[in-house]
């Protein structure tokens, strides 16, 4: 009986608290939703904090996922203000439907590199050695940006790989190498940098000619286009350049 009587009081209290929460935050709060490729997670999280520090009242929330996923979500009406993808082809799918601006600015590049288990037990030194059938090599599937780049490197070098697995995301490739299931894999330089000691990195100079350009765009449906543009400018500006370089990204190609 006592519990039954306490329930309405509890509910009222909860409502009161919820009401307070709504009014206490003040007037000028502005949310900004940024959809960004998974490889951007570290750099963009830091840029988001800097952006909030420079824009009192602004609150940046991120969704990090594979570029293809993000583009599908935006096409289905997900409420994103800013979109940054890991290659231009994926962004172009939205532009084709009029859901993103044509020719968005490139703000960074990323190149593939070879990773092996820590200590490089198989002694891999070059891309050509990855063709050795005794080596368990894992790459991304050609349908995703990192796989398209892996295929391009094979074309540039004339070395055809026979991978044991073609993963759907670059993080899956990294996980297979870090866990020792695969002897070697092709990932972005930024992923290798983020993984630190969990993998060993082997330079892949041939990949320099095959870089992904990362575009950032303010989407037409942005709730506050001005704030969104300011975030895009931060990403493409000197602060963004520095943070991205620290994460292992290359500078955007000269226009």
């Amino acid at each position: 009986m006592r519990a039954a009587r306490a329930l309405p009081a509890l509910l009222a209290g909860a409502l009161l608290l919820a009401g307070c929460g709504g009014s206490a935050s003040g007037a000028p709060e502005q949310g900004l939703t940024v959809f960004a490729a998974a490889s951007l997670e570290g750099a963009f999280t830091e840029l988001g904090e800097r952006f909030e520090a420079g824009h009192p009242g602004a609150e940046v929330s991120f969704s990090f996922a594979g570029s293809g996923d993000l583009v599908s979500q935006v096409a289905e009406g997900a409420p994103a203000d800013v979109l940054a993808t890991a290659d231009t082809a994926t962004m172009q799918r939205l532009a084709d439907d009029g859901l993103a601006p044509e020719h968005p600015a490139l703000f960074a590049t990323n190149a593939l590199t070879i990773v092996t288990a820590p200590g490089n037990p198989e002694g891999v030194t070059s891309f050509a050695e990855l063709a050795d059938p005794g080596l368990a090599v894992v790459v991304c599937a050609p349908q995703v940006p990192c796989g398209a780049a892996a295929r391009a490197v094979q074309e540039v070098t004339g070395t055809a790989l026979s991978p044991r697995s073609e993963e759907t995301s670059v993080t899956d490739v990294l996980a297979k190498v870090a866990s020792g299931e695969a002897d070697a894999g092709l990932v972005y330089a930024t992923d290798a940098a983020a993984a630190a000691d969990r993998v060993a990195q082997v330079p892949l100079p041939e990949a320099a000619g095959v870089v992904n350009g990362y575009p950032v765009a303010v989407l037409p449906g942005a709730a506050s286009p001005r704030l969104a543009q300011e975030f895009a400018d931060l990403v493409a500006g000197p602060v963004g350049r520095q943070v991205l370089a620290d994460a292992g990204f290359g500078p955007p190609p000269a226009p």
Binding site: A141, S165, T168, S179
Partner: protein, 257 residues
């Protein structure tokens, strides 16, 4: 059967809608015109055949291992049988990705068992065997639950009679117990097959993804969605169709009996 209170229909209808409306949503997006080309592409056919092969193998494995497990859980009495039953059902509540990690750290090249297998020259990682293992891991509890439930319902009267008439334990098992639980075994096998067919997370984490070897239909759907969402929807329809055919065919036959 006594008549139901009328209010039961409302939540029941909402529940049915929760299952059926998303299927309609999927169907509404099917690119009917390009359907044939997508479904018959080499990648799709490879994925479908691999899915059917691995789900069949996993179902056989589940029956061979799951029926004895159900017998032990239902009939044997020893300390810890309740705890064992709870543990065996863990894959039911485990997110498939966690199952995949567990398998990876067991059968992977550096795993608990995989390390020894590696010495023997057996490699599970990136093989079709890994897919079957992942599917059996998630599907086994369905079979065990079904058969154990059937054993509990059937009771032990006929077994006791057969035993008093001088039948040996193996004879009782094969001639009395198993025929009694056959319907439960059949529906358990169907559930296990369906669960195997839909397995995604553990396969992705543990087995990898390579056309014709480890890329089953759900993995193909997931990959296609990256580049061509329409193709992914078409393949999803194929998966739904296979699942419906399997479930309806077996359910229908049982209902007719």
């Amino acid at each position: 059967m006594t008549s139901l209170p009328r209010w039961v229909w409302l939540p029941a209808a909402v529940g049915a809608a929760l299952v059926l409306v998303p299927l309609a949503g999927l169907a509404a997006r099917v690119p009917w015109r390009g359907l044939g080309a997508v479904v018959t592409s080499p990648a799709s056919v490879d994925a479908l055949l691999l899915s059917l092969r691995t789900a069949t193998a996993s179902t056989v494995l589940c029956v061979v291992l799951g029926v004895p497990m159900a017998l032990v859980l239902a009939r044997a009495s020893f300390r810890g049988v309740r705890l064992l039953r709870a543990l065996v059902l863990v894959p039911l509540v485990l997110p498939p990705v966690v199952g995949g990690l567990a398998l990876l750290y067991t059968f992977g090249r550096r795993g608990l068992v995989g390390r020894s297998l590696e010495v023997l020259g057996v490699q599970v990682a990136f093989s079709t065997t890994a897919v079957v293992l992942a599917q059996a891991f998630v599907a086994l509890p369905f079979l065990v639950l079904s058969v154990e439930g059937a054993l509990a319902t059937a009771g032990q009267r006929y077994e006791a009679v057969a035993a008093t008439l001088g039948a040996r334990p193996t004879t009782v098992l094969l001639r009395v117990t198993l025929p009694l639980v056959l319907p439960g075994l059949a529906s358990g096998a169907v559930l296990a097959f369906a669960r195997s067919l839909g397995e995604f997370g553990a396969t992705l984490t543990f087995a990898g993804s390579l056309q014709g070897v480890t890329r089953t239909l759900p993995l193909e759907v997931y990959l296609q969605r990256e580049q061509d969402p329409d193709a992914a929807v078409a393949l999803s329809l194929l998966l739904v169709a296979v699942a419906v055919v399997v479930v309806v065919a077996t359910r229908g036959r049982r209902a007719a009996r």
